[in-house]
Amino acid sequence: MKHRLRSIIPDRLRRRTQRQYLIGRAFNRRRALRSTVDRTAQIRKGDILAFVTLRNERVRLPHFLDHYRKMGVDHFLVVNNDSDDGSGNYLAQQSDVSLWWTGASYKRSRFGMDWMNRLLMRYGCGHWCLTVDADEFLIYPHCDTRPLPALTDWLDTSGRRSFPAMLLDMYPRGNIEDQPYSEGVDPFLIARWFDPANYTIRKNPFFGNLWIQGGPRTRTFFAADPLSGPALNKIPLVKWDRRYAYVSSTHMLLPRHLNLVYDENGGERVSGCLLHAKFLSTFADKSAEELDRRQHYANSKEYQAYHAGLRRGTNLWCSESREYQDWRQLEDLGLISRGHWA
């Protein structure tokens, strides 16, 4: 017993130290964010908030805001990382958006997570907070008939504070550039295919989260080095508390219990999906630009791989791809689960 205690305490201490470091770091970045439009006074008790970091996403924004507004998100808190395509102006005109501008380095603020942690800490406490990118669209069981507040109310009554939603890469059939994406259109009318069953899962014993990899990116761009493919596990929806902090993107949080969103006794907990609308015609330009900026994870290794692939006219589609229908299809495939939310 004594031996076990000794081996447990250091991990807990380490996690606590790391959490406090992350919170302190986020607090330190408060001056990096310059408030452009502050409508946070509109936020009421019980509102669902969305936290977004973006750069040059003007084309995608109308559908993004539309999707989450319909779902029941009440307010958007957006960090505009030096966009030059009019994203800032567009967002400033939206009545439910509060906007911050920053010119600081994306990479040196832990890929935007310092900014997100800062805003979450300042505005998110006591709210259900959805932290997503502009190309991530949440899908959850019953999402066609029940709005997001139904889910969060239910999570509240079941005593859950976090909700997992794995990232599901969507892609078009044929070359990515072939079907141009235009503003306001549902991106999943074009990118409506996905990989059904090629996901590998490992448990991270320190943070307690599951490490999920696979999907079309690992299959094509990272074929030579599949183990360094991107992580797909995400916990985007959290009932925030000032003691919480995102550790690495929205893949995992501290304290650890927020990562334990899965059942280990054979049962299923509730989970959803973030449909990833990255692979559209807009992507080639974006990857070229991001490659120049070198602001992404692991020296933009992902973007290098994409760019090398995309120049050849990349087709992510394969004969085993499935066409997206609805959340029931994802549930049948075992990508999401309704748990006991009947």
Binding site: D195, T200, P226, G266, S319, G334, I336
Partner: protein, 561 residues
């Protein structure tokens, strides 16, 4: 007929007063008298708003407010006071229905009245003897009555649990008031005014209240126990559809349940999500010309709830995903469908894979766990479900690889195995009841006969593979095996290949004719190789004793061809 029944409703409201006001209006409009109890914890303005919203309805009384805590006697106290207020203000009430502000009447109140009028002396209250274990979900049963529960479980959980532990240790056993048999049941009931008055005006009520004050969740036992003292006829079934999950929390009802609720023919359902606008608009259904007397049939909705509880507790077998990642041996179904593993067959019969694919209705793969690549049937670039053929990916999560493949494929999966392959899944497959494992022990040596490696390398490879196979056979011989395992020594197999091969096919979905054997490998030189290996210091497990002489193998082969 309906003139005999005058319905009164006790409405307990804790939160979401807007919805509660709406429900009160539904009841009152339907002709019921309503007594409303609002939790003392609800803010004053909200209560005033509710009162203002209902000001135009005459048949409503407001009972004294108590602060209600879940699982405490305060809920019973609130019910008692509200019931008294109702019976005092409206002496003509013949039946009292206990409902909450989140209970939605599904059928017209007139239907309910007509239904009650069929047998006006009957009390509709679920009342199950606490000695019959099993009514409660996720909680205490008989100990509810025999221990003291002075604390709030939700607020002081730790202390609550300690108190229960101490009392168990000290063997505390409260005595029930004389004449009572503990009964439990749904807290939502409909009693006749006669029975209710008898309970409320019982000369021993003070004694009973004193006892129940410190029982656990008295709102599920107070009336349910006392009704047994006074009732004439009890229909031990609640008229309110209230379903609980495995943790004892009530299920929420949403817009998409509308059809099922309508079909259930229940009178009242709970608990309705407060923003389920469609449900609130749709129900109660408008009355028909003739009151509908059909009884509630909640079976379908209860089946749905049971199905989801099962999914939450047991999950889908063979599924590993972001919200289901069972620890070892808690999988509740390691894989989702039967599959077969053939070890050594492709060594004895080089064309075994193709031969088998022709005669069985299944996906026959090569060495799925092989060291060079994942040999999917037909060797495509990506396998079923877009599973990668990369060994790196597969070996990163071999269990996920196999279970995902079995789950995504519509047909049975069959694959080859050998000591050369990744051995990480040996225990997993051996302890999986879905697995059919057929092994020809020692057959891995046959391909070495045809290779032109130097003898030193052959010796080294033999040593490695033999060790791997011995470890695997140890697994297959352990007492933990759940798979169907057939292990044949190579010599035994070669003695009667056709019989043993057919035996192995028995569990497969055989589609075509299979009276011919596949081509067998030439075994020339095996005895010689074994001797050389033995002389070089190895101890080959496979002895040449009983190995068929080359002639016999040849004759078998010609017979097959």
């Amino acid at each position: 007929m309906t003139g005999q029944v005058r319905l009164g409703v006790v409405l307990l409201c804790h939160a979401q007063l807007d919805m509660a006001a709406r429900m009160a209006r539904v009841w009152a409009k339907g002709g019921a008298r309503v007594a409303i109890h609002v939790d003392a914890k609800v803010s004053g303005p909200a209560t005033e708003r509710m009162k203002a919203a209902l000001a135009d309805l005459p048949a409503i009384v407001w009972s004294p407010r108590h602060g209600c805590d879940w699982g405490r006697f305060s809920l019973v106290r609130a019910t008692q006071d509200a019931a008294e207020a109702l019976l005092d203000s409206f002496p003509d009430v013949t039946h009292v229905y206990l409902a909450s502000g989140a209970c939605l009447p599904l059928r017209p109140v007139r239907d309910l009245v007509a239904y009650l009028a069929q047998d006006p002396d009957r009390d509709h209250i679920e009342s199950v003897s606490a000695h019959d274990v099993g009514w409660t979900v996720g909680g205490l049963n008989e100990e509810r009555f025999s221990l003291y529960f002075p604390l709030d479980w939700r607020k002081r959980r730790w202390l609550f649990d300690r108190l229960v532990d101490w009392q168990r240790k000290l063997r505390v056993h409260r005595r029930l008031p004389r004449g009572l048999t503990p009964h439990l049941g749904s807290q939502w009931w409909c009693m006749t005014a006669t029975t209710l008055r008898a309970i409320l005006q019982d000369p021993r009520r003070a004694e009973f209240d004193r006892f129940f004050r410190y029982t656990w969740i008295p709102d599920e036992s107070y009336f349910q126990t006392l009704v047994r003292r006074h009732a004439i006829r009890i229909e031990s079934h609640s008229l309110t559809l209230a379903t609980f999950d495995h943790g004892g929390r009530p299920y929420q009802l949403y817009d998409d349940h509308a059809l099922m609720l309508e079909e259930s023919r229940c009178f009242v359902a709970r608990k309705v999500w407060h923003k389920a606008g469609h449900l609130l608009d749709h129900f109660p259904r408008p009355p028909h010309a003739q009151p509908d007397l059909s009884p509630p049939q909640p079976q379908r909705i209860e089946r749905l709830i049971n199905r989801t509880v099962r999914r939450r507790l047991l999950g889908r077998p063979g599924l590993y995903m972001q919200s289901r990642f069972p620890r070892k041996d808690a999988e509740n179904g390691k894989t989702s469908a039967p599959y077969a593993v053939f070890q050594g067959f492709s060594d004895v019969f080089p064309d075994f894979e193709r031969w088998l694919a022709d005669i069985v209705h299944a996906d026959v793969h090569g060495h799925l766990l092989g060291p060079e690549m994942v040999e999917f049937a037909g060797r495509p670039m990506v396998g079923r479900g877009a599973i990668s053929t990369s060994t790196l990916v597969r070996d990163h999560d071999p269990r996920g690889f196999l279970t995902a493949l079995i789950r995504i494929a519509p047909r049975m999966q069959v694959f080859q195995f050998s000591p050369r392959d990744n051995q990480a899944l040996n225990w997993f497959i051996a302890t999986d009841p879905n697995a059919h494992i057929h092994v020809i022990a020692g057959a891995w040596m046959l391909p070495l006969l045809e290779c032109d490696m130097p003898f030193d390398d052959i010796r080294r490879v033999t040593a490695l593979l033999q060790r791997a196979e011995l470890q695997h056979l140890e697994v297959l011989n352990s007492v933990w095996v759940k798979a169907r395992v057939q292990v044949h020594e190579l010599t035994d197999f070669l003695a009667r290949p056709q019989g043993l091969l057919l035996q192995a096919l028995q569990h497969l979905p055989v589609a075509g004719p299979h009276d011919t054997l596949p081509r067998m490998r030439n075994l020339d030189g095996l005895t010689d190789l074994l001797r050389r290996l033995r002389n070089s210091g190895l101890r080959p497990r496979l002895s040449e004793d009983g190995l068929p002489l080359p002639e016999i193998t040849l004759s078998e082969r010609t017979a097959a061809e």
